[in-house]
């Protein structure tokens, strides 16, 4: 076991997969000579060369579109979008092409494609660069949406995404790149579509993923000091969505809080809450609570921005409400 950062985990996953399979290549804005706008592909260009680490114009539709076309020929492209906010310029290709082509042509086209993008707020980038629109993408059948909350999951899930024969949107939270964690040695893959209990507990269930996992685990530590043991279930992927560990946990605790960074309306919390009510209504002892971003475009000012984002204290308060 090595203790590495999320950034290193993601970088290692790509490096190892590129060494393993010559069909894997990277394209995107500043992935090559620059070394990645978040330094995730640092050193790749020198090692793998410009054919496999391709700098693109700042033109997201053609980045994703070309990745789709290349995937249709049997390659395994990893398209990097500098941030998920820029994915809106490629929305047609993500939604109307990547998510549809396999089905719409009767299964003829294969799309072994990964779209990596940085998601999330909290870095004073203003409203257009700070969104967490993960749930938007999870709306579409045909797409897989993965968003890890630990280095171990990031590496194993990204490897699974690269080896997957389906299009995967891989969302990396901007403020988790420095997060450290234990990662198994050698080659390992974590299957996409399996939720995981990241911390066992018995008094309440927190359902979360990505950045929400970090603040939920901190909240769990605080609550433990007061003798409240929460179980934290990490979704890890929004589509496919694995509810089994969530329902199993809820049937034990009968109380749940869903924590996400995106806006509350029509979000991950709405979906999870509905499913809990649909699948485990008889086990409900308190209304499920949702912790999410306040319904406002994120402002630049640090204090204002933080006040709109979910905090550890919000999670603690929500857990106490359901107890």
């Amino acid at each position: 076991m090595a203790r590495i950062t999320m950034r290193e985990a993601i970088s290692q996953a790509m490096w190892e997969e590129m060494e393993r399979d010559p069909n894997v290549f990277i394209l995107g804005e500043e992935v090559g000579v620059w070394g990645g706008s978040y330094a995730v592909t640092k050193g790749f260009y020198d090692h793998f060369g410009g054919e496999r680490v391709r700098d693109t114009p700042i033109a997201e539709a053609s980045i994703v579109g070309a990745a789709i076309g290349a995937a249709m020929t049997g390659l395994r492209p990893i398209a990097e979008l500098m941030t998920i906010n820029f994915a809106f310029a490629a929305m047609d290709h993500i939604v109307n092409e990547a998510a549809k082509l396999h089905y719409m042509f009767g299964g003829q086209f294969m799309l072994p494609l990964v779209i990596r993008a940085v998601t999330g707020g909290g870095r004073q980038l203003g409203a257009t660069h700070s969104q967490t629109p993960d749930a938007v993408f999870a709306h579409f059948p045909g797409l897989k949406v993965v968003s890890p909350g630990t280095p171990e999951d990031a590496k194993g899930l990204l490897k699974a995404a690269i080896r997957s024969n389906d299009p995967v949107l891989f969302l990396e939270h901007a403020t988790l790149y420095q997060l450290r964690g234990e990662v198994p040695d050698g080659d390992y893959v974590i299957p996409i579509g399996k939720s995981k209990v990241q911390r066992p507990g018995k008094n309440a269930t927190i359902v979360t993923y990505s950045k929400g996992l970090e603040i939920s685990l901190k909240a769990a530590d605080e609550l433990a000091k007061e003798g409240i043991e929460v179980e934290v279930v990490d979704l890890r992927s929004l589509r496919p969505l694995d509810m089994d560990p969530v329902i199993e946990s809820f049937k034990k605790t009968n109380r749940a809080v869903v924590v996400e960074e995106g806006w509350k309306s029509f979000g991950v919390g709405s979906e999870i809450t509905s499913r809990i009510y649909e699948q485990a209504f008889d086990f409900v002892d308190a209304p499920v609570r949702r912790v999410a971003q306040k319904e406002v475009p994120l402002p630049y000012n640090r204090t204002l921005e933080q006040s709109a984002l979910p905090q550890v204290s919000d999670v603690i308060a929500a857990v106490k409400e359901v107890l």
Partner: protein, 320 residues
């Protein structure tokens, strides 16, 4: 081109015309649903173009795709079955008129979002270049697609990466009902290629031999590693944009003028006058095309509907 091949092209064009005429009747009868865009008048474009490709060359097009499918070698039975939404169709009844494909015939689809398949074409060509394959991607689109950003991103990328793509503007002069002059600041499409430093040429889309010859030369240039090339092919659709078109945007005289340039009539005259093919041979081909369309309709009507249990098949390639 040898005589037999020249005759094959005639048959292809007549087959497409007859198939679509029958398709229009079936649409009116309610047997075909959704949007259907007829290729009638434009047959020479994909017929000449695809005759010039090698088997390893990929073809990708927009939603006016029935003729392209036939020219790529998809049997009329499968095209008709897809129109009727049957499981024996090109896309198992999932795609319909606008979404036909057959990867075994190197036909990478009819795509129905205007211009969205152009970046895909760049990617197909990138795949071949990456793998060192000697293939050209032939990407067809209407002149209406040259106003959307996808066109510009794709042309730019193809030039920056020197990709083996032949961009073919199937220029029927109207994006739905809006004339090219009313929609494009620069209505000469070749100038748009010029803007990206992409070499370009043109062809008479009502003359299959003109398209064939221009395509042959263009494909040769692209295959030689010179990067992308754009061909602007002037043509005209005799029918409406789709089946529900009030046609308020053009005058009957204009349609008539173009109909006098009917690509099938043009080519028949060429074969008779230049190639000395007798009328009987051509009449027999006309009859064969009609008979093949009859067979296609019979096949499609007799084919089963997709099973209800198949609704969720192929959302993903892998089990989830």
């Amino acid at each position: 081109m040898d005589k037999q091949r020249a005759l094959d092209l005639y048959y292809q064009m007549v087959l497409i015309r007859r198939l679509e005429e029958r398709g229009a009747e079936l649409y009116q009868a309610g047997k075909i649903g959704g949007f259907m865009h007829l290729y009638i008048g434009q047959e020479a474009v994909s017929t000449g173009l695809i005759a010039a490709r090698q088997p390893q060359d990929r073809v990708i097009t927009a939603y006016r795709d029935h003729g392209v499918a036939i020219n790529c070698g998809i049997p009329p039975t499968q095209v008709m079955a897809e129109l009727l939404g049957k499981v024996t169709g090109t896309s198992k009844g999932r795609g319909g008129s606008m979404h036909m494909a057959d990867v075994t015939k190197n036909f990478w689809g009819g795509h129905a979002i205007v211009g969205a398949h152009l970046p895909l074409a760049a990617g197909l060509a990138l795949g071949d270049k990456y793998a060192g394959r000697d293939a050209v991607t032939i990407c067809m689109f209407g002149e209406g697609a040259t106003n959307i950003g996808f066109f510009h991103e794709a042309l730019n990328l193809s030039k920056v990466w020197n990709l083996p793509v032949l961009w073919v503007c199937e220029n029927n002069h109207y994006g739905m009902g809006t004339a090219v002059e009313r929609a494009s600041a620069v209505s000469d499409i070749e100038q748009k290629a010029e803007g990206y430093g992409i070499p370009h040429g043109c062809a008479d889309g009502m003359n299959v031999m003109s398209v064939y010859e221009a395509a042959r030369q263009a494909i040769e240039k692209v295959r030689a590693g010179n990067g992308p090339y754009l061909l602007d092919v002037a043509t005209y659709r005799f029918r409406g944009h789709s089946m529900g078109d009030p046609e308020r945007y053009r005058k009957q005289e204009e349609v008539k003028r173009w109909e006098e340039q009917d690509p099938i009539g043009n080519y028949r005259a060429y074969l008779t006058d230049q190639e000395k093919i007798d009328a009987k041979t051509l009449d027999e081909m006309d009859e064969r095309a009609s008979a093949d369309v009859q067979k296609a309709v019979a096949f499609a009507e007799a084919s089963p509907e997709p099973a209800l249990e198949s609704l969720f098949d192929d959302i993903y390639a892998e089990e989830v």
